[in-house]
Amino acid sequence: MMNIWTISKREYNLYFASPIAYMIAFVILLTLGIFFFLNMQVAAAQQGYVPGVETTLIPMGTLLVLVIPAITTKLLAEECRLGTIELLLTAPVRDWELVVGKWLGGFFLLVTVIALTLVYPLMLNQFVDPGIDQGPLLSGYLGILLVGASLIAIGVFISSLFSNQIAAFITTMGVFIFLWWIIGPISQVLGPTSSSSELLSFLDYSTHYFNTLVRGVIDLKDVVFYVSVTALFLFLSTMSVEIRRWS
């Protein structure tokens, strides 16, 4: 456990030694701020429209897809490029500890940035009467953390396959776009009668978030989905690191 902590601490601190952490926080906070401002304008002009916490949560889900590749790309790919992976693999650290430490470092950064976005629901709470709904706030932020954790795990795995960071970045982005935007429409085109449609709609990354968690529903099915994806890809990353030893 100590090793995981040591590795994740280094990764977390290094994000703040480079522009990455600040750029990610800036992009997310600015975008959410613009959405927040627009919603307030609409609410002022339209009678009967009360903006809820979903005005922050819905764009944030999509933003994660776009910024997480920037968080995960370097995690293992850079170690391979620099050759420092040789030092880590000859230190008394288990392969899974290395993978989990890297994942946790990225996840802590995401938690930090997400915590900053809480200013928007808090401000909204001041503006609307009688305050915002607490349910979607909790379930939505739980959802964001689950989506983030699983996407970072996928990113760590893709990072472990490459020593070229740009290749890792593009691949991660492509996989995320496929999971978030493309699987859903495919399953709709195939129609509900098709046997593979059920599987595809289960794998549709965004519906687990948009249809339930954002609306204040914590369905065990969705939680299990994201947690299993996280566990699966951390396992695959460990395998990938171990295979590196044999080649």
Binding site: M2, N3, T6, I7, R10, L14, A17, S18, L82, G83, T84, I85, E86, L87, L88, L89, T90, A91, P92, V93, R94, R245, W246, S247
Partner: protein
């Protein structure tokens, strides 16, 4: 401390090391000598738990490198050939990180001690990206020494350094090697001679000689090479030398320099000096040239009965490898 028996490693169809065996005692500095691609790095990587062997046994400090890999890794300090470092960390942060990963007690003090030992204390807060090659090498060495390992494995520790730095690193290694087992690889014979207690010569994945460096050199250099330099007009020197007994193979070099070989067991140097000075030549310099690695190497591989076999393997390999490469 190190025991290796029948170690073999294949990368796909290519055999990197082939059934090698050796051992190293505590307090011994073992040199691993051979050309690039001979299998030095592969052997070292196996010994420090980076990769498992295809077959054979390797033990470090009594622990098996495959079954007790973590125990081995705790006891080994390793500096890879490329000296990988994180350029965006400071020297202190990097070493502190590596010390924490190895659970070094009172890591900060230990980092400072090691930096002082390697004369790096002034650069403690410098970013690694700003260090010169020699300093990076020392940071890499510091990393390998942090946890006071019983066995130190250094892959080409002096490559790319200037002569002053090479000397410094050699001194450090000798210092360290008094109480620990050090295994270092090199392709410079003089380095092995100066630093190592024992030398293994490896070629194409096999150990072809193992001995103390002096013995090794004596064993292979039957004929001694002598080089000399004449200050004034060197016409006629060649014929004088050739006429002397026990002198063979006279070669004329640039700007009045000459080389000749002596017949084994004789030393014609006093005769050479007398004759040249008597004939009015200004003898500026004369010294014996030790056998270079290439000489030793050629001689050893010539003595190897299995050389034709290697050649066959090479041809087979090229046939095997080429289609793969073109399909990639």
């Amino acid at each position: 401390m190190i025991r290796v028996e029948g170690l073999t490693k294949d990368y796909g169809p290519r055999r990197a090391i082939d059934n090698i065996s050796f051992d190293a005692k505590k307090g011994e500095i073992l040199g691993f000598l051979g050309p690039n691609g001979a299998g030095k790095t592969t052997t070292m990587r196996i010994l420090c738990g980076y990769m498992p062997p295809t077959s054979g046994v390797a033990q470090v400090a009594g622990f098996d490198v495959v079954d007790q890999s973590l125990e081995v890794r705790k006891r080994v300090g390793y500096m890879p050939e490329s000296v990988p470092l994180y350029p965006d960390m400071t020297v202190f942060d990097y070493l502190k990180y590596m010390a924490d990963l190895r659970r070094v007690p009172e890591a900060e003090d230990r980092v400072e001690d090691v930096l002082e030992m390697l004369h790096l204390e002034e650069r403690i807060d410098s970013f690694i990206s700003s260090l010169s090659k020699g300093m990076r090498q020392r940071v890499g060495l510091a990393q390998a020494l942090l946890h006071d390992p019983e066995v130190l494995i250094l892959d080409e520790p002096t490559i790319g350094l200037d002569p002053a730095q090479i000397k410094e690193v050699r001194n450090i290694i000798q210092e360290i090697g008094r109480e620990r087992t050090v295994m270092l690889s090199t392709h410079i014979l003089s380095e092995a001679q100066q630093v190592c207690d024992r030398v293994l010569i490896i070629n194409k994945g096999r150990i072809i000689a193992e001995d103390a460096p002096e013995q090794l050199q004596a064993r292979v250099t039957g004929a001694k090479m002598v080089s000399l330099k004449i200050g004034n007009d060197p016409d006629g020197v060649e014929s004088i030398l050739s006429d002397l007994p026990n002198v063979t193979n006279v070669k004329k070099g640039k700007e009045g320099s000459f080389e000749f070989e002596t017949i084994p067991g004789t030393d014609p140097r006093p005769d050479v000096v007398r004759r040249l000075v008597h004939a009015g030549y200004d003898l500026l310099d004369m010294h014996a040239v030790g056998a270079s690695l290439e000489d030793i190497f050629l001689q050893l591989t010539r003595d190897e009965p299995t050389v034709p076999e290697y050649a066959e393997i090479d041809i087979l390999e090229e046939d095997d490898v080429n289609p793969d490469e073109s399909s990639e």
